[in-house]
């Protein structure tokens, strides 16, 4: 019995010393798993499927990082992110509005990425310059350009053929557009308008896009507003002319339905041309799969200069919780914007990614429509960020533009008023912030 006791004692001592040894050896302990939260913009659908796949690949590549993902729909991100950013509960990495990155940088809500980019050796010149610019505040990078979009001219090849126009040649200047419209407007034997040459719905030919194609700009080098330039007035006068050429009846009979569904009249064959963003292709695939369409750059005032398009988009931004999580989040961001993954989203969900190398993929090179999209990207501009009033395009410029279109004001007066209102808003902001 005594020897049994001694045996048990020895076993116990051995066990204890093993435990002590193990706990003193950090190398033998289980590797720490870093958990990060990621809010992206795919609540469901193809995008969500691709994202799940991509994240699974990422977690396989980095087994010590666990990503908790959540997909938020367009328009929801703001409502969920703003309170979260204020309360400090925002996720490590999130997808949000590219055009307002500087807003959050200004308020110290997001992380500065310069150090991380340098250490990782990320080449920011491989992303559309306009998108990198918009993510920069005070000379430093605060967001990764993730996805953007661009607008191009869509035209109906069948309509062109029927009107005796070359279906492979799209109008290059706005004057040409007027000529085309005249040929493409169709009124049937009952006097009913059944087809118009151009869709003049305001969210398609947005005021700012039109202005850019006439050489107008809205902010000068010192960030003062310049809404009332002669070029802008010229653009406005042109749109009035175009609306008349298309005909007032168009709105009454053909465009109303488009307004209700938010789907361009181009889709049901009532308009022969429209300006739409690259994602319009998937709308066409759903609602008009048989439509034979072509794409081209948006026309300009003289067909040669002032090539322009408008883009918005998504950025990847980061909040700092601790060093390990920040690093893990950055790795994810780098992965998501890498050429390999960007190409996946481009091909799988027709996303207009910011990574320019993704467009070198053979499948993209072979697609004539994507060729035009890629070219348009070179001229695509993003709204100037105005800290005094971030919503200036819709709240200041658009209402006056609409006033002129409706004939309530002359184009000159309308733009003067827009300029005046913009200055008032800036003045009020300065008053409120003691500047």
């Amino acid at each position: 019995m005594n020897s049994m006791k001694k045996l048990w004692k020895r076993i116990l001592c051995l066990a204890l010393s093993c435990i002590l040894l193990l706990s003193a050896c950090p190398a033998l302990a289980e590797e720490e798993v870093i958990e990060i939260d990621f809010w992206h913009h795919y609540p469901s659908g193809t995008g969500a499927e691709i994202m799940t796949e991509v994240l699974a690949d990422f977690m396989e590549k980095y087994p010590n990082i666990k990503v908790n993902e959540l997909g938020l729909g367009l328009g929801e991100q703001g409502e969920k992110l703003v309170p979260a950013l204020v309360a400090g509960t925002a996720p490590d990495i999130f997808v949000y509005d590219l055009a307002t990155v500087q807003e959050r940088a200004m308020k110290n809500q997001t992380m500065c990425l310069d150090e991380y980019v340098k250490n990782a050796g990320m080449d920011m010149t491989r992303y559309f310059p306009a998108t990198v610019d918009i993510c920069t505040y005070d000379g430093k990078l605060y967001g990764m350009p993730y996805m953007t979009d661009t607008r191009v001219l869509f035209y109906n090849k069948d309509h062109f053929r029927a009107a005796g126009l070359d279906p492979e040649v799209a109008p290059k200047s706005w004057e040409e557009v007027l000529e085309y419209v005249e040929k493409l407007n169709i009124t049937d034997e009952n006097g009913e308008v059944t087809q118009v040459g151009f869709s003049t719905i305001w969210w398609e030919i947005a005021p700012w896009t039109m202005g850019w194609t006439f050489g107008a700009d809205y902010w000068d080098a010192e960030n003062n507003p310049t809404l009332n330039t002669p070029q802008m007035v010229e653009a406005l006068k042109y749109v009035i002319k175009l609306t008349e050429a298309v005909g007032a009846d168009a709105y009454q009979k053909l465009f109303d339905a488009a307004m209700a569904t938010g789907i361009s009249p181009f889709t049901n064959g009532t308009a022969s041309m429209c300006v739409q963003f690259n994602g319009f292709c998937s709308t066409l695939a759903t609602y008009a799969p048989e439509l034979d369409y072509g794409v081209a750059l948006i026309p300009t005032s003289d067909g040669v200069n002032n090539k322009a398009s408008w883009g918005a988009g998504y950025s990847l931004e980061f909040t700092f919780k601790d060093e390990k999580r920040a690093e893990a989040a950055f790795l994810l961001g780098q992965y998501l914007t890498s050429t390999e993954v960007a190409t996946k989203f481009l091909l799988g969900n027709s996303e207009y990614v910011c990574n320019m190398d993704a467009y070198q993929d053979p499948a993209v090179q072979a697609d004539p429509v994507w060729q035009v999209f890629a070219e348009s990207g070179e001229y695509t501009r993003i709204h100037h960020f105005c800290p005094e009033l971030p919503t200036w395009p819709n709240s200041v410029l658009l209402p006056e533009w609409q006033n002129a279109l409706m004939g309530a004001k002359t184009p000159e007066q309308a733009m003067e008023d827009a300029q005046k209102n913009m200055l008032t808003e800036i003045e009020n902001y300065r008053l409120l912030n003691g500047l």
Binding site: G71, L74, E76, E79, K80, A87, Y287, A288
Partner: protein, 283 residues
Amino acid sequence: MAQESTLRKTRNFIGKTLIVVILLAGAVIFLFPFLWMLSTSLKTPQEIIAIPTVWIPKKLQWQNYSVALSYFPFLRYLANTLYLVMMNMLGTVLSSALVGYAFARLRWPGREFWFKILLATMMLPATVTMVPQFILFKNFGWLDSYLPLIVPAFAGSATNIFLLRQFFRTIPNSLSECARLDGCGELRIFWKIILPLCKPALATVAIFTFMFTWNDFMGPLLYINDKMRYTLSYGLRTFQIQSDSKWHLTMAASVVVALPSLALFFSFQRYFIEGITLTGLKE
């Protein structure tokens, strides 16, 4: 005498018929939105944007429903929503009745002052209290849970308290006085005497609470971070703001989400059938 009552009977009959005719005509107008939703949900995408307008789809696209419901975990969200709705209905009806009773049938110092405060709380737009409230719940540690969506229901909702106050005040004081003199406790008076007389009002509060919670997406959006715990109203939103809005699917999902509300409304109608006759009232 007989002639008079026949005249009255005829007058009543004509009156009733007239009313029914008017109501039926109005019903067409009120039915229209739902019929439109139904019709769009059964169309093909091309039929939706076609000019001239397609009223009745050529072939009913029932598969739109199964496709739409596959976009989000429908049964899961249904279960979550039902849970939230039940809790809210319970909490709101109970607490609003209690508090409404206090404002209507009990006298206590400061009652009118607090009533004005009650009204005032309805007048501040939620936009400006949203973020501080979020921070409040964060400090409670209630983020990413259902707590912010359930617990406040048990504190009563201002509109429902006001509504029940109005209804409780229409019941004669004498009823309560008699019961009190008989030695009835206040809670007993509340539960056994007043509440049963206000069934239509309580049913109204229940319906309103159901509707509000069923359709509330703001609450779940703000306070839940786990997509498996979202609600139907949230699932519906995933359709509504996509860049290529698939209207046929959106409408199909909307129809499905609307049906339970209708079912509830219809079944709660039984509380609106009988009027009160107040017999047994000791005058």
